[in-house]
């Protein structure tokens, strides 16, 4: 329990909590845009940008590396769009290509930079698996700003997002620019990703976006409640996962957050009020009962 009270651990817990909330809420948009795996592709694709950012400045400067990550993720998104729209290659194949080739390029550059003087101490490897333990007060502020931004974007345009996601034709009819909405969506998504990869790494980042949204889906039909619940699930997973990871020596924070999140998903899957396994089994049983009793009454009526 001593570790919990240490100053640094508190910062880590607060920042993973906030990150979890922001990415959980953002994940709902990705879920309904049917682009859950896009976040996976973009977070892998951020790696070369991080390394190039480092190589250009020569020291580990977080803003430059985040800018690099953002640029390379956006290039990846544009390439995916270009490949999909100008050939017969499907979106998932395009994502797979960009994801793996960008990641390969990232590893190539990383190996070269690690040979540079001072490169090995840069902790660039931590971007692959994340390093929540290195979180300091400045990072918490970055995450706070990010989380507030995500919530602002979601709440100010809540009605517009809803129309844009669920009835794009109607949105066009209203004069809502699809290009603008897509642009905002992509920008916020990339912001969440480049912040998150420092904590959980490029490989597991997409889980922070996908899993809470899918879990929330089992509790409600309303988009508003889904966003709120997903934020709570994401934040809760961040909090609990980080606390669990402080219990053991050298336990990785990112994977524990993801596993906590998945546990919440399994609980939702079984107990969820909408389409949960238990509720479905119960509905099936009552229906069967109604069916059986009605057919029995039919039988007795027919017998008369």
């Amino acid at each position: 329990m001593n570790i919990l009270l240490s100053h640094n651990a508190q910062w880590v817990i607060v920042s993973t909590l906030i990150l979890g909330m922001a990415s959980g809420m953002m994940g709902c948009l990705s879920y309904w845009k049917r682009q859950s795996l896009m976040s996976d592709a973009l977070s892998h694709a951020a790696l070369p940008g991080v390394v190039i950012g480092f190589a250009l400045v020569g020291v580990k400067s977080l803003p430059v590396m985040m800018l690099g990550a953002a640029i390379s993720a956006i290039i990846a998104a544009l390439l995916i769009h270009w490949i999909r729209s100008s050939t017969r290659i499907k979106e998932d194949t395009a994502m797979g290509i960009i994801l793996s080739v960008f990641f390969g390029l990232g590893i190539m550059l990383l190996t070269m930079v690690n040979r540079m003087p001072g490169g090995n101490q840069s902790g660039l490897d931590s971007f692959i698996f994340g390093q929540a333990a290195s979180m300091v007060r400045k990072d918490v502020y970055t995450m706070l700003i990010l989380a507030v931004l995500v919530m602002l974007v979601l709440f100010i345009g809540f009605k517009e997002w809803k129309i844009f996601l669920f009835d794009p034709d109607f949105a066009r009819g209203l004069g809502l620019s699809g290009r603008l909405m897509n642009g905002i969506y992509l920008t916020v998504l990339v912001l969440v990703i480049i912040t998150g990869i420092q904590v959980v790494g490029v490989i597991l980042m997409s889980a922070l976006l996908i899993i809470p949204a899918v879990s929330a889906r089992y509790w409600t039909q309303s988009f508003k409640w889904m966003v709120i619940l997903s934020g709570l699930f994401g934040g809760g997973a961040g909090l609990v996962g980080t606390i669990i990871s402080t219990l053991g020596e050298g336990w990785p924070t990112g994977p524990f957050i993801i596993v906590t999140s998945s546990t919440l998903f399994v609980i939702s899957l079984v107990f969820g009020a909408q389409k949960g396994l238990l509720i479905q089994a119960w509905q099936l049983r009552t229906q069967r009962k109604v069916h059986v009793s009605s057919s029995q009454s039919n039988l007795t009526q027919g017998g008369e």
Partner: protein, 289 residues
């Protein structure tokens, strides 16, 4: 054989078997399933190690196949429970991967099994791990496994060529003429897992995705015939593997990263220059009109 020759042979075998499997992955729109399986294979390998306490290729193969099939089954099941297909893929593989990483961090400790190695592969170590075959001489274990996997893949493609062709292009027709679609699906997924595990040692999890998807996608831009697509995709795989090796030697950097990058170059050339589906050809066609 010399050190470089073994590496080139191993890399080419990866390129060839991945290229062949990739064709069906793309046509069945399961590119991201390959990504998922390549990540979740980690948990199979770690479990195999924790149970048997030795790093043997065969145990890992079994572990990997079980993990791959588990992924396929779970994705299918969540999907039938109302989770969107891609979200369901995202949930399953990240969870399994996270569990794998935790198992390595907490249990395996200082054994020489580490996540970075599994993800990025270390093809330079392949020629050191020799086993003796009485009729052949010394051969690296990874290479031998890859040869066997390639033979299995080729036999499976030859045996089920017609079935897979029909299930890939027209699943409804396949079901209606009595092809066991579900069985074919899981058989196919097992083969993808075998290929992934075999390639794991050489190029690592994420480069396997590049090898599986990218050469096949490039081949898809050149031809409309399945047989030609298979040949082209295998060839592109081998070219990228060998080209990637020399890029890596030239720049003195990660071999598996360069191979993934080389598949990207092959794809980019196809994307721009293919006479039928290439961007340049389309551009000139519209200009002419």
């Amino acid at each position: 054989m010399s050190y470089t020759a073994w590496i080139l042979l191993t890399a080419s075998l990866v390129g060839l078997s991945c290229g062949l499997m990739g064709v069906f992955l793309i046509l069945r729109r399961m590119a991201m399933m390959a990504d998922a399986i390549s990540h979740s294979v980690l948990i199979g390998i770690v479990s195999a190690y924790l149970i048997t306490r030795e790093l043997s290729g065969w145990h890992m193969m079994v572990g990997g196949i079980i993990a791959g099939l588990l992924t396929a089954v779970l994705v299918q099941w969540f999907n039938s429970r109302g989770v969107q297909q891609d979200a369901s893929i995202g949930v399953v593989f990240t969870t399994l991967f996270a569990i794998g990483v935790i198992m390595i961090a907490t249990q395996v400790g200082n054994a020489h099994l580490d996540v970075k190695h599994a993800l990025m592969g270390e093809i330079t170590f392949v020629p050191w791990d020799l086993i003796q075959l009485s009729w052949f001489g010394a051969i690296p274990e990874a290479t031998l496994i890859l040869i066997i996997v390639l033979i299995i893949v080729v036999i499976a493609i030859l045996a089920f060529y017609k079935e897979w062709k029909i299930t890939s292009f027209d699943p409804m027709l396949a079901a209606s003429i009595g092809i066991p679609v579900a069985l074919m699906h899981y058989l196919f997924m097992s083969l993808v897992s075998i290929t992934t595990v075999a390639a794991f040692d050489a190029v690592g999890a994420i480069m396997v995705v590049a090898m599986l998807i990218t050469p096949a996608a490039a081949a898809y831009l050149w031809t409309d015939r399945l047989s030609i697509m298979l040949i082209l995709s295998g060839t592109f795989g081998v070219i990228s593997a060998i080209g990637g090796y020399y890029i890596a030697v030239f720049l003195d950097t990660s071999i598996s990263g360069s191979m993934a990058f080389a598949t990207g170059i092959v794809f980019m050339i196809s994307f721009l220059c293919s006479p039928k589906h290439g961007v340049l050809a389309q551009h000139f066609r519209t200009v002419k009109m």
